[in-house]
Symmetry: C2
Subunit: 454 residues, 2 copies
């Protein structure tokens, strides 16, 4: 087989990883990124955006044969550090033992993968090449360069790995029978910062995801390796309080002091930043198909932009790559089979994590609120420890069980939900929750639903 | 109050009705339609497209004060005439007594409403004016005319009543926080024709909706006043059999003769028409918001394009108009209140009828198939006749109960579904369905769910 050529549009983490796996399968890959190279240009202007990686992400990287270099730069977060309004701190572990989600610098992992890509002889990377058009019949792409000139790139196949606002996907809108959905969440967000101590250490506990859950809004903070925390304030776009209602400086001050008094000791000019920044919207994108004419396909956020409340966005994109990696072998490079198998395998999982990520806003933002909700979590945790084969909590299935597809996690989670609603409806459950009969009833219901095991 | 001006984009049935109600509330209305006037130009080229109108449509027209002229041109269909493959005919009534859905000529009702609009002094109608752009801040619209010149129309408010492929809606895609979904159904469709007898009478029973349900596809026929039937073949776009798989003339012939042998005696050149026509896709569009800056709003299919399987598309659009009609009075022409009240009232109903219309393909196409499904309908019908306050079948709620919002019908229907699943799970239900204990159990479950009445 003569080496076939593939164009990858988008040099973010998913595009870079995709280029690597394709190159390692013998393809000649052109990797095209619209922005300058962050390794040689300070395009992030000192901003350190971080994201969560967890077992699905690590497992996918391993499957593709990426070293654990990235993990060395990641900070494990073993629990949620929940900050109540009065400053009281509660620790809620993510899983058991050393189960953790990992705070990763987006630019750090991206640059690591670009370095790996550079070391692959089959990959050529082009920065400052912005996609202008793509022919979905031939996979021929046209890119515009900074000086305005355009180049035409022919290839056997092309991938749109160009993120939540994917140009490849927007161009696909003109194709027949393309189903498309873009849904805005009621919340928008701004990023804030907690600087490091003078000695470079963290001002708050390092190995935790800090949350200030306030039911209809919340502040979170993820640690960076330089001692800072990147914080995100999620708040309704309209209503009260909201980004729309908080326009006057004194109202913003009052808002922060009323709801995040302890964080005010650490946050860097939060009121100034709030006044200066325009809040970014949160939206989900779902489309089908993900591939066109057995020539062009979407991957990562381009195929399934989700909201960040489950910390699964990049994990899901990396899983897309691992699936392709396996399918190229399985179908021995027959792309007429790979493309449909890829989209059929991944679409239900993309839809499931979209749904889960939407729902999890409530879960996160109400963490210290509803006492019945906390009680339910305790009962579930207790039962799960006693009957691990019968019950893995939904959060653990999604985050720590890469062998369980997202779609399966969603399905089982809904069945668990039905069961737990029955348990929580037991009269006197608030007093009796630790009694043996509650465990017995739960065991009976779980066995009736799941048989011997999930 | 000096007369305010409103631009209505789209002169179909919903646009024309909207123009009338706005004019009757004292507004100066410009009604702009991209096509020529069908009353003076033969734009339909002899095609008689018909649609179903039912109680919601008639009630809405009455509320707005439209005479029953349209009803005189409509043909009541009291039941489904189900054609089995062997030619056997089964009659399934739509409701009780003289409950009927009505076959209406789309051009007929449109022309009637345009005639009414012409008689309103406050309406000026412009044909062959195609919307080119609209300013969502000012409601200023730009229209292109046949010779290529453009006119700019200022108004206080504007409505997009421009149908399933609404240009107003597509222009709204560029607005911030506009949520949008376009979903293709697996089925596409072509229209066929059954000509009249030489004496102008119908070749099949007049007062019925004829269905040839074949599970994964179906043919339907609706009567026209000129003795013809307009038929629609709904068939998968791909797979077997499908519009894609049936490409050879002999395969198409074999398909029709295998599945619709009795219809072959009536259909006009079905194989030729199948070979000549390109199948049209079926898609649903859901968006939010429906109004922008208290200046511009969407209505009818422009706001909620659905599939035709519940016969509710135009009914829903007319209900939008009736709602606006009531809100203009209720809020005394305060559009800052009317627009949000309109979209909040109608959006849940648009979503509900979208869901119901999708689901109803299965219901229609499997009418003569699943015997358990038929049994379930019989049990429901029997129970409903005995306890009308406790149980109105979903189809009747949607079609014959305009006082029940679509969203309420969907919710109650889902609860009925849960109950009927329990009834159908009774061991031996196939033999026992007519026994008293089945009615008793159903009564017990219905009363537990709905109390004394729905």
């Amino acid at each position: 087989m003569s080496a076939r050529t593939i164009t990858v549009v988008g040099g973010g983490p998913v595009g870079a990883l995709l280029a690597i796996l394709l190159a390692r399968h013998g393809y000649q890959v052109g990797l095209y990124e619209s922005r300058p190279d962050s390794r040689t240009t300070d395009i992030y202007q000192g901003r350190s955006i971080n994201i969560a990686l967890s077992d699905r992400g690590w497992t996918s990287l391993e499957k593709i044969g990426i070293s654990d270099e990235a993990r060395k730069q990641a900070i494990p977060m073993y629990h949620r550090a929940v900050h109540a309004v009065d400053g009281e701190l509660t620790s809620l572990p993510y899983g058991v033992g050393d189960d953790a989600i990992w705070s990763v610098s987006r630019s750090g992992i991206n640059e690591h993968l670009l370095d790996v890509a550079d070391s692959e002889p089959n990959i050529t990377t082009y920065f400052e090449h912005r996609l202008a058009d793509i022919d979905f019949e031939t996979a021929t792409a046209m890119f515009r360069r900074p000086k305005g000139d355009e180049i035409v790139v022919n290839a056997d196949y092309a991938f749109g790995a160009d993120g939540a606002s994917s140009k490849v996907r927007r161009l696909a809108h003109n194709l027949p029978r393309f189903s498309y959905s873009q849904t805005y969440m009621p919340q928008s967000y701004i990023e804030l910062n907690i600087p490091a101590n003078e000695d470079g250490s963290h001002k708050l506990e390092t190995n935790a995801l800090h949350i200030w859950p306030r039911k209809h809004f919340m502040l979170i903070a993820l640690p960076n390796t330089d001692g800072t925390f990147t914080c995100t304030l999620f708040l309704n776009h309209e209503g009260r309080p909201s980004f729309e209602s908080l326009r006057e400086r004194e109202d913003v001050e009052a808002f922060f002091e009323a709801y995040f008094p302890d964080a005010m000791d650490y946050l860097e000019r939060p009121v100034d930043v709030f006044m200066e920044k325009t809040a970014s919207p949160l939206f989900l994108v779902q489309v089908f198909p993900w591939s066109f004419n057995r020539k062009v396909a979407l991957i990562g956020d381009a195929a399934h932009a989700i909201v960040p409340f489950y910390g699964q966005g990049m994990n899901c994109g990396f899983e897309d790559c691992a699936e392709l990696h396996a399918l190229i072998d399985h179908y021995d490079h027959d792309w007429d089979q790979i493309f449909p198998a890829y989209e059929n395998a991944r679409k239900p999982n993309g839809d499931a994590i979209a749904e889960l990520s939407k729902r999890n806003f409530v879960e996160m933002s109400d963490l210290s609120g509803d006492s019945m909700f906390q009680l339910r979590k305790m009962i579930e945790a207790k039962f799960s420890q006693r009957f691990p084969a019968l019950w893995t909590p939904l959060y653990s299935m999604v985050t720590f069980s890469p062998e369980v597809p997202y779609s399966e996690a969603l399905r089982v989670g809904d069945e668990q939900n039905t069961i737990m609603e029955k348990i929580m409806a037991i009269p006197g459950i608030e007093e009796d929750w630790d009694e043996q009969y509650v465990m017995d009833r739960l065991q009976e219901l779980a066995e009736a639903t799941f048989g011997e095991g999930q």
